[in-house]
Assembly symmetry: D2
């Protein structure tokens, strides 16, 4: 890391910094500048606290960390892009993978009919919530294990692998029994108890960025899972919280090329939760294909007007089919296949 | 709720909206305006999905909810301010309560000495982390139950009640054994599994606002706990995430008077996590007293340069004693007592 | 507008609200709800101050405005999309218009060579700054009228119409002499003196969204120009300020479909200022085409490593040519022509 | 500045960086680390573009600037706090200066009566807008020079010096004729044409932070004025734009201690524009005194219910008098005098 001294910091202050740094096991290296001096600290920067303590020493203007806090998620460490296989569906390769389905699993006919319709239109995986995190304690919280059973029926009926959210560490076991991929929702991006346990699981994980999570923190959350040895990880951009209220969140489309530059992990986009309104979902979906995402997760409900959850952001099956068609041509234009 | 029609929406569109609303059990009431019409929907607005579906109907410009999504937390429902008693320490009354202590419990002498020093300076409760949520999987995560035991020793030595964070639902039982108050950290503000269980506990809860949580969502998270029948709840503002990077978070000092206007619950301020740097903690602490907060939770470490966690934002005991003195005069000026 | 009363507001408070509203020339209309009452105020809402005064009356919970503050910019008022003609180049129709060129005009060979190269690759207009707003008083501020003359030479050499920024009302006249389209930069989105004068000009205006401007405020700024009778207006999304620092700004790609839904005005995207780094420009450009934008404004410099301004975000001419090629296929896929 | 190379960057890439840096007149200094190498560039960093070009070279991970972009505003360059004298009223010394008055000047009796009342309560200067920047083209834009004349009458009647906003460079001369201090509004924080001209004026300037301006950019805007040789500059924090909508802006109270640490310039707080609602103004005002601000600028209207502008955020004279009384005790507690 680099310690930047203040203009006019004394020689004694500079020496004190070097002494403290050496106590923290860094080798020091002073660069005398025209206006101010800096000290390079050579060593392992795991100790973030060390960094910030040095920042408080007299004569120090600021401390600049050099190492990235994540390793396993970094493209510096693994140059080739990772391909993640979910029951035969491959994320990160030539295929652009569309996951579709309703926000919540409600009834057998609803989830099976959704699965059949999205498969017909070209979706490769089915989504559907059985455990729902809800901002209000008074909202519908999902069917639980019954919902998982219905998801499994929809998979039997269509062959589509299933991804579903797990919100509580104690539910990992039951979700593992039915689903092909665990989903970590945006609210749990820093639920480290959950991340650690999913890192110990075998099944692939879909990790959604939190609404206030920087891309670096997103990759740190990924590191939690990777460092426990589960390397089957797909990231998902779903909008960040900003001052703009015309959409529920602001889809950070730049997250796609930035993650591609910094990490080898696949990244998909959730346009439904970003927009919060069905009318904007097609434009955002097409933007995601063009920007180089590896896939999409879209809400499709057989009858959005009757959905128990987030109906307003769901496409109906015919809107979805139209969108899939439009996206095929864009995918082709950027060298991908839907 | 109020449905705002577009300029030029047809009579048929207006009727369709009314029909749909009546299917959702609302009574409708049309107001014909000069430029456009609006429909008032009378009924219970629990069904947020209903709201958003109507938003997608043809001719609708937008839907404006009228009811607040929280009830038990609202000052509309309970006018007098709540006073929360934590082992004899009262939040929300005349006393301005200062909680102080280190970020993490590290060793017996560290936590006991911290407790003794902060008590001497006038703190009324002790803080200290035994279970630490950490952004990096490679950082120190706390001593766990050993840390709780040391906290209990520090309580014995000083008589100060103890608050400590619980990050995993499975740890509630063990934390309950040792602590006087549960703390929910900012990252867990929407960890609904945790909130629900704490709502079923008997001990008081200190609920920290998340960095991307609006005040309305903050009160919704409070509602989760209140609705499970634990009414011993204290809120804590600790900074929100904005574009400004000079401080770790942006302390939203307005949260104090806004929460006081909207809710009957006590609210305290955490200046240490907001600032991220010890040098700004005194100014923010004094601002919190003056703004009408009910207390503070401040990081104080007997030797910040050796702290295993967040040392840079900790005051040392003499800085803390100076600050307590300055705050006494301000508290007096606003009719409070430290 | 709608006045929402508090739960438990008295009949007298309700009457007082109605009385005040009638003094402000509104007709009032009470809806009695299950939990609380609301009052619809019928009339012209120009008087924003009236709105907010009513908010402060006893018993009032909040006031909800119904009318949009902009009229001329609204698609409610003008349903068909506007087509803006800039010296024969049409924004908002079937053509997807790419404007390209360097950040600053530096020398004749630089701007002419840039113009020739971007035209070859398919750009339809030339950009280049002669008056530069700079965050630091010590940075290069542009060549002024000399720069405008060089832009005119590049137009002669290529036939490409020219757009350039005007930062000071006193420069409008000289810019008008040379340019085909005025650009209002993001920092001037609320420089109302400038907007008013450009509304009185005849030439088309390219209006960039400010980094902290909501889409509604963006359309209000457009209204300033439209209300002075200049209807030749093209909007430009160029990124908003958020907590994310991996890119210079966060490109709000949703702004494209939202503006298309709310307004009849054409909207283009500036991926260069949003990203701040050339490496992310292609992904964002392609996303903009796919999302339905009417064009792009991209920085291209014949030799980015020697640029006097923002070189790091400029493509070189061959990178630009490759990108144009890729975009043609995407444009075709969404029914547009480059 | 510091160039951080990627892990695995080649020796040739390192050499290329050094060569490019030397072409830009930097001396280079390599530090070989355990994991990656960094290059210190010694020289003057005025050339921000140089910095960013190096960022795009092969093998470079990122470039970290070391120098601050502002000099004259920095406490590193001038250690003692500046005291700014406005017609005998001193900002930055022992006195805590309260400026008060209505948003807009409307009529002679209104402004004179406001001036008399705020003076009685202890205000030291009068505020009042004659030129108003308005988000809507249809709102009241102020009385112009007539308003300035009325301000001068209010000064005669009370002896209070007057501060008023200038929104257009062409109005500087007329404002200079009547006012004691120029105000730059938040929307003009990057109106560099205006800042430069005010830097050439003799009278003191009150510079408001923009809603999307970082503290570093705020000090850069100050640098514009200082570098033109007007050193009579007072800064004003007035809230930043965040996702929170309970207040109009989020008052960044930390801005006060941060500016005090980074700069020698006085800083005051505008609680009225931050809150947007009168009910929150007292809490924010008191917080500002306690946080160490040098003063306040508060909206007070003799009859807020009849104000033509921002009435909802104005205190009436008796509310203001109560607040002044409360603040006196807090000011005393922090060693200041109102």
């Amino acid at each position: 890391m680099i310690v930047v001294m203040k203009i006019g910091a004394t020689e004694a202050e500079l020496e004190h910094v070097c002494k403290k740094a050496e106590e923290l096991n860094f080798t020091t290296h002073i660069i005398y500048g025209k206006e101010r001096n800096v000290v390079g600290l050579i060593g392992i920067e795991g100790n973030k606290e060390g960094v910030s303590l040095i920042e408080e020493l007299p004569g120090v203007d600021k401390v600049v960390p050099i190492s990235k806090p994540y390793k396993l998620a970094s493209r510096e460490v693994k140059r080739e892009s990772s391909i993640v296989d979910v029951a035969g569906v491959k994320f990160g390769g030539e295929d652009f993978v569309v996951i579709a389905g309703p926000c919540s699993v409600e009834r057998e006919d609803q989830i099976v009919s959704a699965a059949v319709r999205v498969k017909e239109a070209g979706a490769r995986m089915l989504r559907g919530g059985a455990f729902k995190p809800r901002t209000s304690p008074y909202s519908f919280k999902g069917l639980g294990e019954d919902g998982l059973r219905l998801l499994a029926k929809a998979r039997e009926a269509t062959g589509l692998p299933v991804v579903t959210e797990v919100v509580d560490p104690k539910d990992i076991e039951v979700v593992d029994k039915y689903a092909d991929m665990f989903q970590v929702g945006a609210r749990n991006i820093q639920n480290f108890a959950l991340l650690t346990l999913l890192g110990q699981a075998r099944k692939p994980v879909l990790l959604k960025r939190g609404p206030a999570t920087t891309i670096d923190e997103f990759l740190m959350a990924a590191e939690y899972i990777l460092s426990e040895n589960n390397r089957n990880l797909v990231l998902c951009e779903r909008g960040i919280r900003t001052f703009e209220t015309a959409t529920r969140n602001t889809l950070d489309i730049s997250c796609v090329p930035v993650v591609k530059a910094k990490s080898h992990l696949p990244i998909i986009v959730d346009p439904s939760h970003a927009a919060g309104q069905a009318r904007y979902v097609p434009a955002l979906s097409k933007a995601a294909v063009a920007a180089g995402a590896d896939g999409l997760i879209i809400e499709v409900h057989p009858d959005p007007e009757k959905a128990l959850c987030d109906g307003a952001q769901s496409l109906n099956p015919s809107q979805f089919a139209v969108l899939m068609n439009e996206m095929k041509a864009i995918a082709f234009a950027v060298g991908r296949r839907i």
